[in-house]
Amino acid sequence: MNSYSKVKSRPTRQIQDDKKQKGYRLSVLSRVVAAAVGGYVLALVASIVLAAFMPGNRAEGVLWAMQLSFAVYTLAVIWVFAARTATRAWIGLFIPIVFLSIWAVWLTQGGVK
């Protein structure tokens, strides 16, 4: 079963369910934080990298990237809640964030554009 399976509080299974409920709630909380904070950071670093590759001068690239950032954010949140487990959701955010951050620093400090 998956972490979204309904953990209903039927009286006969109360004690068991309380434990499950706790784990379930923690996993949801973890995903909400991953989506809100992790998703935002991913959207941000992805947009910074994207800005360097959009048509026009640097300011236009930034304008394009800002407009597209919300689409990236949306995809990131969908990933977080579609992942099998909260841990996988975090890993799936963390790897691209690290990769894109390094790329973003290289782009903005290296002065490619």
Binding site: N2, Y4, R10, A43, L44, S47, I48, A51, M54, P55, G56, N57, R58, A59, E60, G61, V62, L63, W64, A65, M66, Q67, S69, F70, Y73, T74, V77, I78, F81, A82, R84, A104, T108, K113
Partner: protein, 530 residues
């Protein structure tokens, strides 16, 4: 795998919709009213004359004379011509003047060249601005709250599309009076029919505020300093160059020759404004702009003149870059300033359906859980009760509060100095009362009573207008005053709508009670589940 994905998206859809649902309803309703912001402004100042037109040459000179008297030494003057629905009267604006107030705005009566005088009111503008400023909250906080709400709305739309199996079949599926099933059908129909509008309005809403929500994208390239920001803005928006005053006096060139060039280029009725930077200074600049609302691309063509010699220095086209154009189009589509009357009504109804989409989603959440709770031996969980009561007090209660705003506009004495603030205070006080009413009355009673209150509050507004102004419905219909007639008729239609809702709730509930008395059938789905 596929079903897991859909299931998790259904979960996400349910919860992002619920958490900010009432705020989204508020944003949708006030934003929808905003499509008629100037019309509401005018209804709320019935003393003002019908919309005016001016001769641009004459009015530019009149405005200049007035600005020289009331705003000497200003860093900026603006003169706006009434060229379409968005600006019914000519206007002047000044900033950084030596006089008091240093910054101000006046609507001018074209017939007398004197400022128009009318009652103090927030008008339709305040109602419209509420949908991203939330009125009482500090600006920045409001922007972020609205931003989170808008982003959750976008997530709600995308997950809603993913969850859907048969998007086209839902166009034609509506099974009324079947409780939960009907609410789901209604939610699907309004969402699917207006989906392009909802996606546009939500995404563009985020883009309008992107400098608040995503400032670090620019900061990564331009730094966080004020100079860096300024450099980014001037590169991205070439029209917005700011010059310093020289501090040397020099006479301002007459406008007529400059206006001639603008009219020649754009045609009659397309010159929207004249903006003067540092009037009377050697560094003066005069900018003439074309109509911002000419089309969905919300941008003006500008002619920049030297304010002393009158030479044309620069022409800034409407279209400077793809990235800016993309933002300008999203901006233009969101505001809909370019919309004529047919498209404007389409905007209005799309916005209303958006509100219905949010409302039906909220109701569906409650109906589903009420049925489940009844099956499980009449439990009455707090969360469910909270949602049910917030639904009543917001979905019907907030429209009542809006009606109260209009009532306050006509009933507060015009001599009362704080009347503009109290119009809004009364609106939120009434909302508070409606929420308390919703929380304390039996559930179905609360729905029915609030629907009746809303019905009478709206139905009687045209009567109130007739009693408190000289522009009653008969008069406005006779004189083709479609701003007033349109407002009165819309309020009347809203009143009828709420009355019908009340009647449906009553008759359906009676039928259900009869059915239950003959055959005891507690699982019968009905509006009782509201």
């Amino acid at each position: 795998m596929k079903s897991f994905f859909r299931q998790s998206m259904a979960w996400l859809h349910t919860w992002v919709g619920l958490v900010f649902g009432w705020l989204l309803f508020f944003i949708f309703i006030t934003g929808t009213a905003g499509f008629f912001d100037t019309e509401i402004d005018r209804w709320m100042q019935p003393e003002l004359p019908m919309a005016q037109t001016v001769d641009v040459y004459d009015f530019a000179d009149q405005a200049r004379e007035r600005l020289e008297v009331i705003a000497p030494g200003a860093s900026r003057w603006q003169i706006w011509f009434p060229i379409d629905r968005n600006r019914p009267y000519p206007e002047i604006f000044w900033q950084g003047a030596d006089s008091d107030p240093a910054r101000g705005r006046e609507q001018i009566d074209a017939r007398t060249a004197e400022p128009l005088v009318a009652r103090e009111t927030g008008g339709g503008q305040l109602l419209y601005q509420m949908h991203w400023r939330l009125h009482y909250l500090p600006t920045r906080m409001a922007y972020w709250i609205v931003g989170v709400g808008t982003f959750l709305m976008l997530l709600g739309l995308i997950t809603g599309i993913i969850v859907h199996k048969k998007i086209f079949a839902d166009f034609f599926t509506f099974r009324p009076m079947k409780g939960q099933r009907s609410w789901l059908d209604a939610h699907n129909v309004v969402s699917v029919v207006t989906l392009p509008f909802q996606l546009m309005i939500t995404y563009s809403g985020l883009v309008l505020m992107m400098f608040t929500y995503m400032p670090l994208v620019a900061a990564a390239y331009y730094g966080t300093s004020a100079e860096g920001r300024q450099q980014f803005i001037s590169e991205a928006f070439p029209a917005r160059e700011v010059l310093e005053a020289k501090g040397v006096a020099a006479p301002l060139v007459p406008f007529s020759h400059l206006i001639e060039q603008a009219v020649e280029r754009w045609g009659e009725g397309e010159l929207s404004y004249v903006e003067i930077h540092h009037p009377g200074d050697a560094a003066a600049r005069i900018i003439l702009g074309s109509n911002l609302a000419e089309g969905p691309l919300r941008s003006t063509e500008q002619l920049v003149f030297d304010g002393v010699s009158g030479d044309l220095i620069a022409e800034i086209p409407r279209l400077t870059s793809g990235a800016k154009a993309s933002r300008d189009v999203l901006y233009g589509l969101h505001e809909g300033l370019f919309a004529g009357s047919v498209l404007r009504w389409l905007y209005f109804f799309s916005g209303l359906l958006g509100s219905v989409m949010v409302a039906s989603g909220l109701i569906l959440w409650a109906v589903k859980r009420r049925q489940r709770a009844e099956k499980q031996g009449n439990q009455n969980p707090f969360g469910l009760r909270l949602v049910e009561r917030l639904n009543i007090g917001t979905i019907v209660g907030f429209p009542v509060a809006m009606a109260a705003y209009f009532w306050a506009n006509r009933l507060l004495p015009t001599s009362f100095t704080a009347r503009a603030e109290w119009e809004v205070h009364l609106m939120f006080l009434v909302w508070g009362v409606m929420l308390i009413h919703a929380a304390t009355r039996p559930r179905l009673r609360a729905w029915i009573e609030q629907c009746w209150i809303a019905a009478f509050a709206f139905l009687l507004l045209p009567v109130l207008n007739a009693l408190t102004s000289s522009r009653h419905l008969v008069q406005s219909l006779r004189t083709n005053d479609w701003v007033f007639a349109g407002f009165d008729l819309t309020m009347f239609a809203l009143g009828i709508g709420f009355a019908l809702m009340a009647l449906v709730l009553i008759t359906h509930n009676l039928a259900k009670r009869e059915r239950e008395q003959s055959v005891h059938n507690p699982s019968a789905a009905s509006l009782e589940a509201l």
